[in-house]
């Protein structure tokens, strides 16, 4: 939020953080888009997102589903001839969209991420069963039916345990103190 107030344009806002610093160097060659396994699912491809950021289309970018289809496979980043860290850019955009409550409604990925984070915040570790159950509660419990066969396979092979690993009480408190401080500092870097 602080950055938004100081920046004159979206490219300035983004350009100040890791992932955004090289976007001025982008030559729109399209290598990132050609390398992205999910470009065809995105309302705007990765190279379009960069062009749109530079064209100051802040709202269109942040409300799009593009970054929520990023798989963090880093193929774009590994191949970019100009050193643009596109994956990091996607994460930075996700962070802004979340802070401004612009989470995209047509994909459940933000809800899935939130379910994951709620557990990590509360206990410092990720119990997979709790995470999945919480996700289906927050999204659509009926969707759980579709994954039942997979869940049953996992249970049969002893791979879905209810009991979660816990940190020591001191460790749990320490993780919370660190996360609370990080949040009070604004989330962005």
């Amino acid at each position: 939020m602080e950055k938004k107030a100081l920046a004159n344009s979206f490219v300035e806002e983004i350009g100040g953080s890791p992932g955004g610093e090289e976007i001025r160097l982008c030559i729109q060659c399209g290598t990132c888009t050609a390398s992205c396994p999910n470009a065809d699912r995105m309302e705007h491809t990765p190279s379009q997102i960069i062009a749109m950021v530079r064209a100051d289309m802040r709202e269109e970018v942040l409300k799009s589903n593009a970054m929520w289809y990023c798989l963090s496979c880093y193929m774009c980043t590994a191949r970019c001839p100009r050193g643009v860290q596109i994956t990091e850019l996607m994460h930075a955009l996700e962070g802004i969209a979340v802070r401004e409550h612009l989470s995209h409604g047509r994909t459940l990925t933000p809800t899935m991420y939130r379910s994951f984070n709620d557990f990590v915040y509360s206990i410092g570790t990720l119990p997979e069963v709790g995470f999945m159950a919480w996700y289906y509660m927050l999204s659509n419990p009926l969707k759980a039916i579709k994954v039942m066969p997979v869940a049953i396979d996992l249970i049969k092979h002893g791979r879905l345990r209810i009991k979660a690993r816990r940190l020591t009480p001191e460790g749990t408190k320490q993780v919370k103190a660190i996360l609370d401080k990080a949040e009070s500092l604004g989330g962005a870097i």
Partner: protein, 290 residues
Amino acid sequence: MKYYSYFPGCSSSEGGARAYGDSTLAVAKALDVEFKELDDWNCCGSTPYNSFDELASLSLSGRNLALAEKRGFDLVTPCSSCYVMLNRTNTYLSKYPKAKAKIDEALAAGGLKYNGTIKVRHILDVFVRDIGYEAVKAKVKKNLGGLKVAAYYGCQIVRPKNDFDHTENPTSMDRLVESLGGEAVPFPMKSRCCGASLIISEQDVAVDLLKKIFDSAAGNGAQCMITVCPLCQTNLDAYQSQVNKKYHTSFNLPVLFFTQLMGVALGVDQKELGLKAGIVPAEPVLAKYL
């Protein structure tokens, strides 16, 4: 004896990929390596935390690095996501002073300080470089001759960057398979994405990606696949039935953690390898080596 601090990550410790953690420790023992688990470690935050709150995500990893610094050895992990997150934190701390100031402040709120001295490594890197192919080969008790393996690396062990293998056409695990006596089949999709956590929120998208990987592995004659990541293994193994359902295919490829296959070749007691955790059964393919 070589010494490391060990960061199992949530999945390989008491989660769905426990067999990965167990087989990792068993193989390390067989190779005379000490992986000592980091005390009271926390989740690396993975992609979800990073997508919502980058600073919190870096601080989560910062805590683990600060804890590891008290002991001082390289921090090794079997999980590709933990590997990326912990490494990313190191990179940001050294490259971005503004981020460092904030991470330091967050860690200080927990009474911790990290000086940036811990190197983070994947266990594959440790096995192929610190131990080495020849040393592994010398300890093989059951040669995997005749076994055709598709070595699947996935994304985050090699990208955005790493210092031990190619970012798109890695070969270290292929060579490891060969030093166990097996045959690593050509596998063009070896470092393409498995769909990662979108398997949960966008199953159709992820299943499409899995299909291409199976086509590539099976089309090249692989009898089984091996992976270096808990999530890749889960997607490839537990959702193989969903791929078959959607595409009317009949893939039947066991998907092992690479440490399980190493364990078989090194003659590690089967009970320590968790082979029964695989949903597509591996026994038919591995029977003659067990």
